[in-house]
């Protein structure tokens, strides 16, 4: 029974949003929609609004994922070399942009972005998303390198390889899965972001979550549900593709 509850709870958003995105004339108190229509999905595929927002979100997501990897890896690695309270202090610093409410980050940073001429630009929003994403990436790689056996690096060095060679030809290939995971993590941070995009992006930068958010607020249930499903599926797929085993995330979670 508990298993059934978990299954229902996990499936609920998919099923409900799917129903809402195709229901027609679904008025109170009908529990199921009386008619179905592919209208909003047709609009989606041919229209500008949701599709354009999706494209923007994909670009931002990919960029943010890249930041999480490229900046997170070296930070996490050097954090893992610390021990004791120093490591905890370092982790706390890296955790700050993660735990800070995005709305607070946005209000605090918007002035700087405006001064740098990045307000209302895609680049500006990307950099804004990168702030928490790099934090997530750093913490993630801290976990990875905390259990990484560095003897393999020592062996490589003792066989005559330089630091660079060791990093690129020995360490990096071993980190393919963690890199994919970190990329997915950064992607997700950007993909679901609302406040940072709202404030730093201003009006011009419309991402999928922003569109869905305004659709829900204006009560356009069917379109909102369609956009929400569009937002949901890649999120689940991204994580399913990169980390299935719970054991993998023990490193990060514990």
């Amino acid at each position: 029974m508990a298993l059934g509850l978990l299954a229902v709870s996990a499936a609920a958003p998919f099923v409900l949003l799917a129903l809402w995105s195709v229901g027609r004339d679904w008025f109170y108190p009908a529990v199921f929609p009386p008619k179905f229509t592919a209208e909003s999905w047709r609009d989606l595929l041919s229209g500008e609004r949701l599709l354009g927002a999706t494209a923007t979100s994909l670009v931002l997501g990919a960029g943010t994922g890249a930041f999480a990897c490229i900046a997170g890896l070296p930070v996490g690695r050097s954090l893992a070399r610390l021990t004791g309270w120093r490591r905890h202090a370092g982790a706390a610093l890296a955790f700050l942009p993660v735990a800070a409410p995005p709305i607070a980050l946005a209000t605090g940073l918007q002035f700087s972005f405006l001064r740098l001429g990045l307000g209302g630009t895609l680049v500006g929003v990307l950099l804004a998303h990168a702030v928490p994403a790099i934090g997530y990436g750093s913490l993630y790689f801290l976990g990875v390198f905390a259990v990484f056996d560095s003897r393999i690096e020592e062996e490589s060095r003792s066989l005559g390889a330089t630091s660079r060679q060791t990093f690129f030809h020995v360490v990096l290939p071993l980190l393919r899965r963690p890199l994919a995971d970190a990329f997915a993590l950064g992607f997700l941070v950007s993909w679901s972001q609302v406040p940072l995009t709202l404030l730093v992006g201003g009006g011009p930068v419309r991402t999928l979550p922003i569109e869905v958010f305004s659709l829900v607020q204006s009560g356009q249930d069917r379109l909102a549900a369609t956009g929400a499903l569009l937002l949901l599926v890649p999120a689940i797929a991204a994580l399913a593709a990169t980390r299935l085993a719970a054991s993998r995330t023990e490193v990060m979670a514990v």
Binding site: L17, V31, L82, E250
Partner: protein
């Protein structure tokens, strides 16, 4: 400072910039209508009843959501800790919604828990309600029930994941020893499983609390307009048509960042404690 320290400081720099600017704007050193250092605005905002109601309401809502998610995570971890197919399926299902964005969870909650939402319709079909007006308010309500449920649902997979991991890596040996010494299941739970579990979960619970308290979109879609959740109040002041009031948002930002910083410190301190247990 060794390399790691500098690297971490770099990661935290944007937060430092945000704090610095917020401090300046809150004390009249920067921003619209800045006339030199003054604590007037800070005093005024911190003296507003609406602000403290908002802060306390936000903290209470996030705490309740964390408690619910935590209790469910403990139940799931203890109930499904075996290695049978059933247990493994249950654990996978529990963790599945992990990447669902707050926005999606909130959207679904609005559609399900709203006055004319799915729950209301099911109740009406069963004859318990006459119409949408009879449905008890679960969204935009002072109790924040809908928001608490949604946040609890959203944070459960993460806490469950941590709980599963904690049980799998710690305590198994202790429990076996206790069993061989004759301890019954309730005794084992009370003296070994639960202490191990809550200590392992504590840091994650603090993190979850911080995320729940800081979520803008969830509050915007589900929270009442009185008292307002802190993230929503912040944005409202920030975009206030009265430009002179906009500076208030920076005091609120500092409040929110202080809460987050406190959570971070608590989190790391708890992890430090837990690691000492491992040795």
């Amino acid at each position: 400072m060794r390399g790691g320290g500098w690297a971490a400081a770099l990661v935290a720099t944007p937060v430092a910039v945000g704090v610095t600017y917020s401090l300046a704007a809150a004390t009249g050193l920067a921003g619209y209508g800045a006339g030199g250092f003054t604590l007037d605005r800070v005093e005024r905002v911190l003296g507003e009843a609406a602000v403290w109601e908002s802060f306390l309401w936000t903290v209470r809502t996030a705490a309740l959501a964390t408690l619910i998610a935590g209790a469910a995570a403990v139940a799931a971890a203890v109930g499904f800790r075996g290695s049978s197919a059933l247990d493994r399926t249950a654990r996978a299902l529990a963790v599945l919604p992990l990447p669902v964005p707050h926005l999606i969870a909130a959207t679904t909650a609005v559609l399900v828990l709203g006055q004319s939402g799915l729950l209301s319709r099911i109740a009406a079909s069963a004859g318990w309600l006459a119409g949408p007006a009879d449905m008890p308010a679960l969204v935009y309500d002072r109790g924040g029930i809908g928001l608490i449920l949604m946040l609890g649902w959203k944070e459960f997979p993460f806490l469950a994941l941590v709980a599963f991991s904690v049980l799998a890596t710690r305590g198994a040996a202790l429990e076996d020893t206790a069993r061989s010494l004759g301890a019954g299941p309730w005794q084992r739970f009370r003296r070994i499983t639960w202490p191990v579990l809550w200590r392992g979960l504590a840091p994650a619970a603090v993190a979850v609390f911080a995320f729940a308290a800081g979520s803008y979109e969830a509050a915007a879609l589900l929270a009442p307009s009185d008292p307002q959740a802190l993230p929503v109040l912040t944005l409202e002041r920030y975009t206030d048509p009265d430009l002179a009031r906009r500076g208030d948002a920076f005091v609120l930002t500092l409040l929110a960042l202080a809460l987050a910083a406190g959570a971070v410190l608590l989190h790391e301190w708890l992890r430090h404690r837990v690691e000492r247990l491992d040795r």
